[in-house]
């Protein structure tokens, strides 16, 4: 029970972090039809900027500054990069973000080196929030959840209750109409791109010190976020939310479970000889399969329901 509850809390905080990433990706995708390969790179930049600004001004100002810088960077990417490439079609746009991810990783190598940087949890949050049975639950995890949920609420309110949110929603489906009503749709696109990048940056700020801040972090989380978006249904925010929690849960639980089929067979009294050709296969533990799980899940989803959990259209 203790194991289950702690893992559940961990998977919740991880899932919410995934949603901060996938929500920006989904918004950008449904608005501009662009799958932003550099999205996870913005996450990485958020962590590195927070580390760097944190050295000078401390964690709390960095929490606000880093996402702003990343957002500005995102706006510039849209304005000077994507908008130029837009006329060449979606493949070119996609490949542009792919190349950008490549360049960002190299620039991070250039500035901060290849080894992980020492980006730490602030001392004010480095205490035990509560003790569950015997496990001490760190306050920072709670803080992460708080920020994610706060962001989620803010996003919801902005999209449904404010004027700019309504314009954004209208531009998703009827860009021409919105334009003829006198709104600057390209600027709305730029805003959404910057907002999505800032969200990813914020996720990087709070995720970078909880996990690890290194040049490989973008690729590590990038493909998981894609899985989340496909699994939840392309362009569906609610789907992305559900998928984030599911994938987060599966990843966290499967890492923690150190059983193999062999153990289970052993429990029911079947022993496989270690010389048998199948011994190697059966002895793979669930935690060893953890990296494959999300992708396997995605492939299964595509076979039974190609449009994903909440997707509305086929492509």
């Amino acid at each position: 029970m203790e194991f289950f509850l702690v893992t559940l809390l961990n998977s919740l905080s991880y899932g919410l972090l995934l949603f901060m990433l996938s929500s920006g990706l989904t918004l950008i995708f449904s608005m501009m039809g662009v799958l932003n390969f550099a999205h996870a790179s913005f996450y990485m930049l958020g962590a590195y900027f927070a580390y760097q600004t944190g050295l000078h001004v401390g964690f709390w100002p960095a929490l606000f500054l880093a996402p702003l810088i990343v957002g500005g960077f995102g706006a510039a990417t849209e304005r000077f990069g994507l908008r130029t490439v837009h006329k060449f079609g979606h493949v070119a746009e996609l490949l542009f973000t792919f190349g950008l991810a490549y360049v960002i990783e190299e620039v991070v190598h250039l500035i901060w080196g290849r080894a992980p940087v020492d980006y730490r949890i602030p001392a004010q949050l480095d205490f035990t929030l509560f003790t569950l049975y015997t496990t001490q639950y760190p306050a920072y995890r709670g803080f992460m959840m708080l920020v994610s949920v706060g962001m989620l609420l803010a996003l919801y309110l902005v999209l449904t209750r404010t004027r700019i949110g309504l314009v954004i929603q209208a531009s998703l489906t009827h860009p021409d109409m919105v334009e003829s009503l006198g709104h600057n749709v390209p600027r709305v696109f730029m805003l959404v791109f910057a907002g999505g990048a800032a969200l990813a940056g914020l996720a990087g700020v709070i995720g970078g010190n909880a996990f690890i801040t290194e040049p490989g972090m973008a690729t590590a989380v990038g493909s998981i976020v894609f899985v989340v978006v496909v699994f939840g249904g392309m362009g569906s925010l609610a789907g992305a939310f559900l998928a984030s929690l599911i994938i987060g849960g599966i990843q966290t639980f499967s890492v923690a479970l150190d059983y193999s089929i062999l153990d289970i067979l052993g429990k029911v009294g079947i022993n496989v000889a270690s010389t048998s050709a199948w011994h190697g296969l059966w002895s793979i533990t669930i935690s060893q399969t953890a990296p494959v799980m999300p992708y396997l899940l995605m492939v299964l989803m595509l076979i039974v329901r190609p449009r994903g959990l909440m997707g509305t259209r086929e492509s």
Binding site: V85, H109, L110, S223, G280, P291
Partner: protein, 435 residues
């Protein structure tokens, strides 16, 4: 939109030209002669292994273009089939070496091809149900899945160390044992030629033509009664077949196959090759494969920042010439035919000088940063095209910045020169009736 005359024109060009025109035969014979003659010119062992690498890259990039260029499928997981082909070939070579299997080494790449085909059929069944962006994401997911499994199933993939093999197995046939690199080069060149011709011929088959239709307008393709999913699936399987052949050759060439061979970096690399070369022309990826292989081995000898330059080069191509280098070449064809190239040369020279100044400053700045961050403590000075730059002294930073700014100002000043030369030329070409 195609007009009726366009359609009639297309129909004529497709029906009257066969694959084996005399011109094409001459062309392929010339390619074969070049392949045969290259090792006589480049005799160093370094050049020979690079040529072998290029041959493999050409097969891989061309097979990738069957997906992206011809069927419109942007795959981020094509190295999966290349890598699986390589692993199967490595195991086949080991079995031949242990005398558990009899198979001529010359034909071992075919095993890789079949492996690629089988996995292409398997994974393609899932992935080709969707096109466009979803396909790209799913191919990435499959690639991640296979890459993660490769570290899980250590018996087959050899874990971190990979699978080592020995190509000089079996009986030598007519003195060909595949021990020396030169014999391996000719094996690769032979397979490369065969694969190139086969892939080119495929573009002229009904399947190849339908692939183009599915790429351009899937709805119409469905209307005329074709199953677009099946066309995509077939093309993907065939592309995987050729990728597997490339992988098999890689196993023979390097005599070791690691999980990196089927990883995401390898998959990304082939996207870069095909796109830099140009996906709109059949021969575009060949240029890309040769150029990228050359850059990767040449640049990495000179600078640590080569991946950054490489990425930036890719971005520049996408932003300014999305048809790749091949498109730049075809753009000049009418000008060349009208014998007006000399009219463009002055503007190109001006632009090249301005660009060179800017790039010199930019590269110097990047190199300064790299050397500034470097670990060595005694001296961080380095040689830059014969100049000694020291990132610990401010004057070098100022000098570099000045060169960069001057270069940027020059580029800004002459940014319209090339465009204006082209405009003038277009008018003249139209008057001559060459366009």
């Amino acid at each position: 939109m195609l007009t009726e005359t366009d359609i009639r024109h297309l129909g004529r060009s497709a029906s009257t030209s066969s694959v084996l025109t005399p011109r094409r035969i001459v062309f392929w014979v010339a390619v074969a002669l070049i392949f045969a003659g290259l090792p006589l010119i480049f005799t160093q062992s370094f050049a020979l292994s690079m040529l072998s690498q290029m041959g493999i890259a050409i097969i891989f990039a061309l097979s990738y273009n069957m997906l992206l260029g011809q069927t419109g499928l942007l795959s981020f997981g094509h190295a999966v089939y290349f890598g699986l082909g390589a692993f199967f070939c490595a195991h086949a070579l080991n079995l031949i070496g242990a005398e558990k299997l009899w198979f001529p080494v010359t034909l071992v790449p075919l095993i890789g091809g079949v492996a690629g085909l089988v996995f292409g059929l398997l994974f393609g069944f899932v992935t080709t149900r969707r096109a466009g962006t979803p396909f790209a994401m799913i191919s990435l997911g499959i690639a991640e899945m296979v890459a993660a499994s490769a570290l899980m199933f250590t018996a087959f993939f050899g874990g971190e160390g990979g699978i080592a093999t020995n190509r000089a197995v079996g009986k030598a046939f007519l003195g060909v044992s595949y021990g020396p690199q030169i014999q391996v080069y000719y094996l690769i060149a032979g397979w490369c030629l065969v694969a190139m011709i086969a892939m080119f011929a495929l573009t002229w088959t009904p399947l190849g033509r339908m692939a183009n239709a599915v790429r351009d307008n899937p709805e119409r393709a469905r209307f005329v009664g074709y199953n677009t999913t099946r066309v995509r699936w077939l093309m993907m399987s065939l592309a995987s077949f050729f990728a597997g052949i490339g992988g098999g050759l890689a196993a023979i060439n390097y005599e070791i196959v690691t999980a990196e061979t089927l990883g995401l970096v390898a998959s990304g690399n082939v996207v870069l090759m095909a796109f830099i070369g140009g996906i709109g022309q059949f021969w575009g990826p060949i240029i890309g494969a040769v150029l990228v292989t050359l850059l990767q081995s040449a640049l990495s000898n000179y600078t640590q920042a080569w991946l950054l330059y490489f990425g930036l080069f890719f971005l520049v191509i996408i932003m300014f010439s999305p048809g790749g280098i091949a498109n730049l070449i075809t753009l000049h064809k009418p000008v060349w035919n009208a014998r007006l190239v000399q009219r463009l040369v002055p503007s190109y020279v001006i632009a090249a000088i301005a660009g060179a100044v800017m790039l010199a400053g930019f590269f110097a700045l990047i190199e300064m940063i790299y050397h500034y961050e470097a670990k060595e403590t005694s001296s961080k000075a380095f040689s830059y095209f014969g100049l000694i730059l020291d990132p610990m002294q401010a004057r070098y930073w100022i000098g570099t910045a000045i060169v960069l700014l001057v270069g940027m100002a020059l580029v800004y000043g002459v940014r319209r020169v090339v465009g204006r030369a082209w405009e003038n030329l277009t008018v003249e070409l139209q008057q001559k009736g060459a366009v």
